[in-house]
């Protein structure tokens, strides 16, 4: 089968693209200039498009992603919808109509991206089945404003965009994109395309992937490409071979076992959130703070851990959850506790030829949890400090178990072992917390950079525990304790 992408219902040959041509570049070269580049690193969402994804239940879901980050070759046989495909002047899609008539566009450059992000949420099954509840982040029509957290607008101040989103009704019966969701998603196609700038290969299964990796250990593993896409666009890195692992069935398994939960390393964070279905409250606290919905629709636990970045947001949470990783190589698998995984700045025990297959979270999970992300902006920012808490109290209020994961304060994510010791076996009260907070404030070796001063990072470590205590000691928060 010739490599091709179905764009707005029409199949277009992929052509000779290497692994470095992004979906955005490919779309624009094909004349679909409605999709824009605003930042080329997945921050602004001007490049947002909808793609058809497996909903995990035999159907399809339209999800919005940053087309600037992903290789075009990863979309062989996939379905993509851009703003041009949703409607035309004179025949606007409901999302386009609300945005146009409510002043949702000014300069218009970010608008096609907003349209795609908004349309994906418009089609979210169950969205419109709402009880009319609304809060600052949810409309009375069930619209979750976090769907737009990865889209930046410099003109409007967002109010008219929010109002457009909140005015959307349910999709009509005859809406073809709504109907499309009831049929299976396009299958992952084994792909091998090349240009003079490198190859992109999507293997059919894990064994094939590990074989490729064994043969070319320098190959770039690409799942959601939310980190690699930045390397491509901003640092201009190029790989001779990119291996697409995001659709490997072995990396997309999800299982709830009596003693642990296994999350496939290539499940997107959005998929993991859906499948976890509230079983791990700490991760539910994390997800909305992890980048944006656009990024979470591509990003994976495997990718966030694979880079071994000290400022990734999943490591502190997974450290607090005492997670382990299943690492696979050709003919072998091993389990490594996450606490032993990181060895240095962007370094880990993962060997050449090895990839992360599964994230394993022990059960039962600690009941008293919290995730504090210190950043300049509330939505979609990079942590200056991230602190994750997982505590278990005895019936008498003594701290039976405490795990605290930290990010942004050392060359690797780390556990706050001394603070955990101070807390463990002591009553969960202000005296204990104050003493432990001072210990926590001495953790790590925070640096000063453009995000925060070292003094602020240190102060945030200390006050974080005080805040966590305040959140979990006040009566209105007691339901979180059970």
């Amino acid at each position: 089968m010739n490599a091709a992408v179905v764009v707005n219902g029409r199949s277009r040959p992929l052509g000779p693209v290497g692994g470095h041509v992004t979906l955005l570049e490919w779309l624009r070269a094909a004349g679909l200039t409605g999709t824009k580049e605003g930042c080329a690193e997945g921050e602004c969402g001007a490049c947002s498009v909808m793609v058809a994804r497996d909903d995990g239940q035999g159907g399809t879901r339209w999800v919005a992603i940053n087309s600037c980050l992903v290789p075009a070759a990863a979309f062989d046989q996939q379905e993509v919808v851009t703003a041009e495909g949703l409607g035309q002047p004179g025949d606007l899609h409901p999302v386009q109509r609300e945005m146009a008539r409510r002043g949702g566009s000014q300069c218009g450059y970010c608008t096609p991206g907003f349209i795609c992000s908004m349309a994906a949420e418009y089609y979210r099954p169950g969205r419109a089945v709402s009880n009319g509840h609304s809060d600052p982040e949810h409309g009375p029509n069930g619209f979750d404003l976090h769907a737009l957290s990865g889209n930046l607008c410099r003109c409007t101040g967002y109010r008219p965009i929010r109002d457009a989103a909140y005015a959307l009704g349910p999709p009509g019966q005859a809406d073809p994109l709504s109907a499309r969701q009831t049929a299976p998603a396009p299958a992952a196609a084994p792909t091998s395309v090349a240009s003079d700038q490198g190859r992109y290969v999507r293997p059919q299964n894990l064994a094939e992937a590990l074989g490729l990796l064994a043969a070319e250990p320098d190959a770039q593993l690409v799942a959601g490409s939310t980190d690699w896409g930045v390397e491509l666009n901003i640092r201009h890195r190029r790989a001779a071979l990119s291996i697409g692992i995001d659709r490997l069935p072995e990396l997309r398994e999800f299982a709830v076992e009596p003693n642990h939960i296994d999350i496939g390393a290539a499940l997107t964070l959005s998929e993991a959130e859906t499948r976890l279905a509230g079983r791990v409250p700490l991760l539910d606290a994390l997800f909305p703070q992890f980048a944006s919905r656009l990024i979470r629709n591509g990003a994976t636990f495997g990718g966030n851990l694979g880079t071994a970045s000290p400022i990734g947001d999943t490591p502190p949470a997974l450290l607090a959850l005492n997670a382990s990783l299943v690492l696979a190589s050709e003919g072998a698998e091993r389990v490594v506790p996450l606490a032993e995984y990181f060895t240095g700045y962007r370094q880990s025990v993962r060997q050449p030829g090895e990839l992360i297959k599964t994230i394993r979270i022990p059960r039962p999970v600690a009941p008293l949890t919290g995730f504090h992300k210190i950043a300049k902006r509330r939505f979609d920012d990079i942590s200056s400090v991230a602190i994750a808490y997982a505590l278990r109290l005895d019936e008498d209020g003594t701290v039976a178990e405490a795990r605290i994961g930290l990010g942004g304060i050392a060359a690797t994510p780390l556990r706050a072992l001394e603070t955990e010791q101070v807390l463990t076996g002591r009553p969960w009260n202000r005296d204990t917390v104050t003493e432990a907070a001072d210990v926590l404030g001495r953790a790590g070796t925070p640096l000063s950079d453009h995000r925060a001063s070292s003094q602020y990072r240190t102060a945030m470590l200390r006050t974080s525990l005080l805040k966590f205590y305040a959140e979990h000691a006040e009566p209105e928060h007691e339901e979180v304790l059970v």
């Binding site: 624009r28 004349g31 200039t33 409605g34 824009k36 605003g38 690193e41 921050e43 851009t82 703003a83 041009e84 035309q88 002047p89 004179g90 606007l92 999302v95 386009q96 109509r97 146009a100 008539r101 002043g103 566009s105 000014q106 300069c107 218009g108 450059y109 970010c110 608008t111 096609p112 404003l145 737009l148 957290s149 889209n151 930046l152 410099r154 003109c155 409007t156 101040g157 967002y158 109010r159 700038q197 930045v230 504090h372 300049k376 902006r377 509330r378 939505f379 979609d380 990079i382 000063s448 001063s453 003094q455 602020y456 102060a459 945030m460 200390r462 006050t463 974080s464 805040k467 305040a470």
Partner: protein, 803 residues
């Protein structure tokens, strides 16, 4: 000029102006059909792409440049250097901005540009260019420049009365200083130009520019051509905010130079990181001040020095400084005043226009002063502000009568009522009593902003209006569309002036061969001046058509009325002519159906040496009340609610104006509380490099910064005489209503301290900055008599780089 149609402000029966309509391109925006400069590349055969050779030094001498290796890179067509320039090697108007420098003046300064068949080839070519640099000492911050006495341009002073005597008369005196951060424009569409050589050597440049005429001038002088050899077109911009007033010119000149040398179209588009690193921003300012109040807490004197960080070249730094000096009074009568201003020269990208154009940096000084002094004077900040408002009859320090000063009080009281200011003050106080770790603040601040270019000559505009034989109308004008809705308003103005439905009016892209010698679309003046010109052109045509209609209707030409495409005589509604029929008949009577319109803003004069005169046609007024909540653990804050009452005169287009007010406010909140530019100020190899040069490190407001409750009210019965259809400019002023958010943060922080605690708040007031202010307030509480000792405050950081 028009005759017989009443003053400029009068509206006819059933005007198209004032209707609530969407942006004229809204349907194109939402469907991805709206074209921006870069979208034209794929539609232009054989386009080459340009990539800069960026110097990795903030200040260095370019010793040698070798392009040999780059020429060998497959796909590289040419490397542009200074040797290629046939005309003047300068990207600006002041001859201080070499297009190809021999002295690197800021980190990332382009010393050459590589043209490639693909962007990838051009980039690889740029990496292959070898340049030898001799590093030189670099001045990065405004303080570096002050210490080295490195300034540029002419220092200016605005003064009135005797500030020393005023200070001596004061009962209460305070002094302080304020560092005001800059702001990256972060237009979503980065700088872009596409040039090709048209027929007979004419250069045609499509540019994302707010100032096509100046882009034309600079392309022409770089190429050694007369202005008539260059045409510049701007379809639309994906945002401008002032960042495309001066900065596009050199980039357009590079593209034009490449097109001239290769004979092929050349596209130059900065990617986001290049754009943030290479182009100028809102000027950071450093202000020192002393202020005096009398026994009634009325301002009696202000002495201040404002030093802006202009970067490596003058660009627009001098007029930005002038506007800052002319706005330090904001809404307040300050009888004796002396304010000095100067522009520091540093090794940074050249700072430039940004929405407000120095006005915000001037106004924040007095708002900061009032916010800091109120607790020490024992009054609420809103009381202190209100009692110092200009009264009717008073004049600004530069000698202009503050016309409509009574609107300050009217807007203020309207806002207090609409926002339930008093009731919510009590709620905030109750909340703060009940919550030791979280505090709220509610603040209200006014604005008064002068409208017109400070430089009188720029206050002129042209338009070209065609009526075709079928009755359809095509308008051109000199203004550019960057999302502000100027074209929408111009369609409404033309439809109103001609008395035709808006559907008959089409607007063509801005081009220098249609309307020459235009002013920048800037200073909020786009609708005022271009609207005046469009109206003038339309009225010329209408007058001619009225003569034709008068004959057919049997009435005097002065009694012909045009409404919604129907032409009648005054009082003779039984006889009607259809617009299209009248136009058709006029053509056959050989009546000219097109006209060039012109407008000059009357009554302006300005002595830039003495800094005295009447530079502004009028003032825009407004006020905002903002409520925030501050987390004492982290310094993080949330804007809970914002209410604005703003004076747009009689709105030309209410939905457009609402968008400008809301968008300006949130952009201002970004500048004041979130957006944080940080330079490497170390002595390491990357000294002078902007550390926040990416969307991942420079954060503009997202949904999380939008106030969940946001109410905007247009001030009523606000007709502005002498302005097109009674309207007022709206582009810039609302940005400064965001002061209310920063002052609300200040008040929330103050609630962590003892009564009378004066809060010194860094700007931008990021969560970290707010946290240190909270710590200082808590420390003051701990030190206050009778206070319980609290945890000792953490040490605030010593280096706070950014200005």
């Amino acid at each position: 000029m028009s005759q017989g149609y009443g003053p400029l402000a009068d509206r006819p029966h059933r005007p198209a102006v004032g209707l609530e309509v969407s942006h004229e391109s809204a349907d194109l925006h939402v469907t991805g059909q709206a074209l921006y400069t870069q979208d034209l590349v794929g539609r232009t055969y054989g386009t080459l792409h340009a990539w800069p050779v960026a110097a990795p030094h903030a200040h260095a001498r370019l010793v040698a440049l070798s392009t040999e290796a780059a020429d060998q890179v497959p796909g590289v067509v040419h490397v542009l250097t200074a040797a290629d320039v046939p005309g003047l090697n300068d990207a600006g108007e002041k001859h201080d901005e070499p297009l190809f420098p021999t002295e690197v003046m800021y980190y990332g300064h382009a010393v050459a540009w590589v043209l490639g068949e693909t962007l990838e080839a051009a980039r690889q070519g740029a990496a292959a260019v070898t340049a030898d640099y001799e590093p030189l000492p670099a001045l990065v911050s405004v303080h570096d420049a002050i210490a080295a006495e490195s300034f540029q341009g002419t220092p200016r002073t605005v003064s009135r009365g005797d500030a020393a005597a005023g200070m001596a008369r004061a009962k209460y005196r305070f002094e302080g200083e304020l560092e005001i951060g800059g702001q990256e424009h972060f237009y979503l569409e980065t700088q872009a130009a596409l040039a090709h050589v048209d027929e007979n050597g004419q250069i045609f440049v499509q540019s994302s520019t707010q100032h096509p005429s100046e882009t034309q001038d600079i392309v022409a002088h770089v190429l050694g051509l007369a202005a008539h050899g260059v045409t510049v077109q701007c379809l639309r911009m994906g945002g401008g905010f002032g960042g495309k007033e001066f900065q596009p010119h050199g980039l357009a000149a590079i593209a034009a130079l490449g097109a001239t040398l290769t004979g092929r179209p050349v596209s130059l588009r900065l990617n986001r990181n290049q754009d943030i690193q290479m182009t100028g921003k809102r000027h950071p300012f450093f202000a020192t001040w002393e202020v005096g109040f009398d026994a009634d807490l009325r301002l009696c004197a202000l002495r201040a020095t404002l030093t802006s960080n202009g970067g490596w070249s003058l660009d627009l730094s001098e007029p930005v400084l002038a506007r800052a000096l002319c706005h330090i009074d904001n809404a307040y009568w300050i009888p004796d005043i002396e304010v000095h201003g100067r522009v520091a020269k540093t090794n940074r990208a050249s700072n430039t226009a940004f929405r407000g154009f120095g006005g915000p940096q001037g106004m924040i000084v007095i708002e900061d002063i009032l916010g800091r002094c109120a607790p020490q004077l024992g009054v609420t900040p809103d009381d202190l502000r209100r009692r110092n408002f200009y009264a009717p009859g008073q004049a600004t320090p530069y000698g202009q009568l503050v016309r409509h000063a009574e609107r300050l009080e009217a807007i203020w009281s309207t806002l207090c009522e609409r926002s339930d200011f008093a009731g919510r003050q009590a709620e905030v106080a109750a909340f703060n009593t009940a919550h030791p770790d979280t505090k709220r603040g509610l603040a209200i601040t006014p604005i008064k902003f002068g409208i017109s270019f400070n430089l009188t000559a720029f206050n002129q505009a042209g338009a070209l209006v065609h009526v075709y034989k079928d009755g359809s109308v095509l308008i051109n004008h000199g203004g550019t569309e960057m999302g502000q809705g100027l074209h929408t308003k111009m369609i409404q103005v033309a439809a109103t002036a001609l008395g035709v439905p808006m559907s008959l009016v089409r607007l063509a892209p801005t081009r220098t061969d249609k309307v020459p010698n235009t002013s920048a679309t800037a200073a909020s003046s786009g609708a005022d001046i271009n609207g005046g010109a469009v109206k003038n052109a339309c009225e010329q045509i209408r007058e001619r058509l009225a003569v034709v209609a008068a004959g057919q209707l049997g009435v005097n030409a002065a009694d012909v009325r045009f409404t919604d495409g129907v032409v009648t005589g005054l009082g003779f509604h039984d006889k009607q002519l259809a617009w299209a029929d009248l136009v058709h008949d006029a053509y056959f009577q050989r009546v000219q159906l097109w006209a060039a319109g012109f407008y000059r803003t009357e009554g302006l004069h300005w002595d830039s040496g003495r800094m005295q005169g009447e530079p502004f046609k009028y003032f825009a007024y407004g006020a905002a009340a903002a409520e925030v909540e501050v987390d004492g653990f982290t310094g993080a804050y949330r804007l809970r609610r914002a209410d604005i009452v703003h004076d747009v005169g009689d709105s030309l287009s209410p939905l457009i104006d609402l968008g400008q007010i809301e968008g300006g406010f949130v952009q201002g909140v970004g500048w004041l509380t979130l957006e944080d530019l940080r330079w490497d100020e170390s002595d390491g190899p990357h000294r002078g490099r902007l550390a926040t040069q990416a969307a991942s490190t420079y954060k503009i407001p997202s949904f999380s910064e939008m106030p969940p409750e946001f109410n905007v009210h247009l001030f009523e019965r606000a007709t502005e005489s002498g302005v097109v259809y009674g309207s007022k400019a709206v582009g810039e002023p609302p940005l400064m209503e965001a002061f209310s958010a920063r002052e609300a943060i200040r008040q929330a922080v103050g609630a962590f301290g003892p009564a009378g605690h004066s809060v010194d708040l860094a700007c931008p007031s990021t969560p970290e900055a707010v946290y240190w202010a909270v710590e200082a307030a808590r420390a003051a509480s701990a030190a206050a008599p009778g206070a319980q000792p609290e945890n000792q405050p953490a040490t605030p950081p010593t280096a706070y780089a950014g200005v």
